[in-house]
Amino acid sequence: MSDDLKIVGLLCNWCCYGGADTAGTARMQYSPNIRIIRVMCSGRINPSMIFKAFQEGADGVFVGGCHIGDCHYDAGNYKWSRRSKIVEDILEEFGIEKERFRHEWISASEGEKFQRTMEEFHKTLTKLGPLELE
């Protein structure tokens, strides 16, 4: 898998980042296109970070947070979930396919879900091809 697609992954320290770790330790294969940025909580992610990633050349942006109810900061993932809707609405207006932006709740033990999600996302992006911003 040596394509140029760039995926930026913003992963919550307490869950999804652990999930990626679990997948890694268990040597599960997933596409190497993802560049992981660890954040303390999905509630810390602003829409502008997603936009910045696209502007800087990401072809897809992935956000991973704790399952609803499991956020270490109580309600961070609720915040993120509401923001994600706005992100979708805005991307659509600027001609960025909403499939290029994905978010999932993945716990530290769900290495396999992380692997599966990455594979799916990579497949979606392969179909869409590189993002061309005018």
Binding site: P47, R82, I86, E93
Partner: protein, 379 residues
């Protein structure tokens, strides 16, 4: 909520006022009783197309503010926020002004206790330069001879110095690209019900102002002005109340039609390619209040190399910060040197937010979980 017809007891004000001079009389009452430090209202400068906000502290000076200026699409929200933060002020508001003020109140940028909002119903405003051109093209009159304008029964009516009137159907003007500003054509908030009172000509008899009293403070204003002997009131007939609500609904329906016609085109906008990153749209926006702290000024977003900017990294950022609070005042369109219809996308996103939450910027009471509250709800 209740309704009255009101008329000034002061002949000069009655003469100068648009309808019954009620608004000017109430402002006079507030000043004379010392209930406010001053009043912000519009006053024409070089001509009727050139009105802007003036700060009046002596009620003698109010006469020059009376009347409705349809070619003066001003915005009061950011002025109150920036320059009157610790003053007691009364000011007139069109619905978009009121909505901006409401949004700023929820952001603790304006203190409700310090202000009186005197609402004016609004059928729309016309940009002065294109308004003059319109009069030149569609009327038999010289734009310089116009002493006042009015929007009534679907027509844009001008009154000339000699007292004569001329009317052209708004629909015809707007089909040709003239008439009310584009955002006004979409605007579906016609009566400012969050102001203390909402004043207008709808439902009013000649020489009277129809007032919808929206809250206790509004009631106190009417009672106080009457007691001070400057205002007389009477009850409107049921037919008048009904007629007014009928016109309001027709106007709203018209606006919705215009929304349906314009929103779908937003994602196909090609205009962004001529954006020169001048930030005029941000700087004028009453909801964008962060000034020097704006995220677009941060080193990680400041992008002087890319002009035009990548839309998602410029307007996208603004949209994510405040589009759900866009009051569709059109100021951003008005000031864009490149004539980019900026408000269209902000307004559309606010409507999408409405679809998800039921929240109408500057109008809804129940603040739905905004993006940064700790509320445990998803959209």
């Amino acid at each position: 909520m209740s309704y009255v017809l009101a008329k000034s007891q002061n002949n000069e004000i009655l003469e100068a006022g648009e309808c019954g001079g009620a608004v000017t009389s109430i402002l006079k009452y507030l000043l004379d009783e010392g209930l406010v430090d001053g009043v912000l209202a519009l006053s024409p400068q070089d001509d009727v197309y050139d009105a802007f906000p003036v700060f009046v502290t002596d009620s003698e000076d109010l006469l020059k503010t009376a009347g409705s200026y349809h070619c003066a699409p001003t915005m009061i929200g950011d002025l109150v926020q920036k320059y009157f933060i610790d003053k007691k002020v009364a000011f007139t508001v069109k619905p978009c002004d009121m909505r901006a003020v409401e949004e700023l109140i929820t952001r603790h940028k304006i203190n409700r206790d310090n202000i009186y909002m005197i609402g004016l119903n609004c059928g729309g405003t016309v940009s002065p330069v294109s308004g003059r051109k319109m009069i030149d093209l569609f009327y038999e009159a010289n734009p310089d001879d116009v002493v006042s304008e009015e929007i009534d029964k679907g027509q844009f009516i001008i009154e000339l110095a000699d007292g004569s009137e001329e009317a052209v159907k708004i629909h015809d003007l707007e089909n040709e690209g003239y008439g009310r500003r584009n955002n006004c054509q979409r605007c579906d908030v016609k009566i400012p019900r969050k102001a203390n009172i909402a004043c207008g000509n709808w439902g009013a008899e000649d020489g009277w102002t129809f007032i919808e009293i929206n809250d206790e403070k509004g009631q106190e204003l009417i009672d106080g002005a009457k007691k001070a002997g400057i205002l007389e009131t009477k009850s409107p007939s049921d037919a008048a109340v009904e007629g007014r609500s009928k016109v309001e609904n027709i106007m709203i329906k018209m606006a919705k039609k215009n929304q349906d016609a314009t929103y779908p085109t937003v994602s196909e906008m090609t205009e962004w390619s001529r954006c020169i990153s001048c930030y005029a749209c941000r700087d004028v926006c009453p909801i964008c209040w962060c000034f020097e702290n704006c995220e677009l000024n941060k080193p990680y977003f400041k992008d002087e190399a890319n002009i035009p900017p990548v839309p998602i990294a410029f307007q996208g950022v603004r949209l994510s910060h405040m589009s759900f609070s866009c009051v569709d005042c059109g100021q951003c369109d008005d000031v864009c040197p490149m004539d980019i219809p900026v408000s269209l996308i902000f307004d559309k996103l606010q409507k999408k937010y409405y679809d998800r939450t039921g929240y109408v910027a500057g109008v809804s009471d129940d603040i739905k979980p905004p993006l940064y509250s700790p509320e445990k709800t998803e959209l």
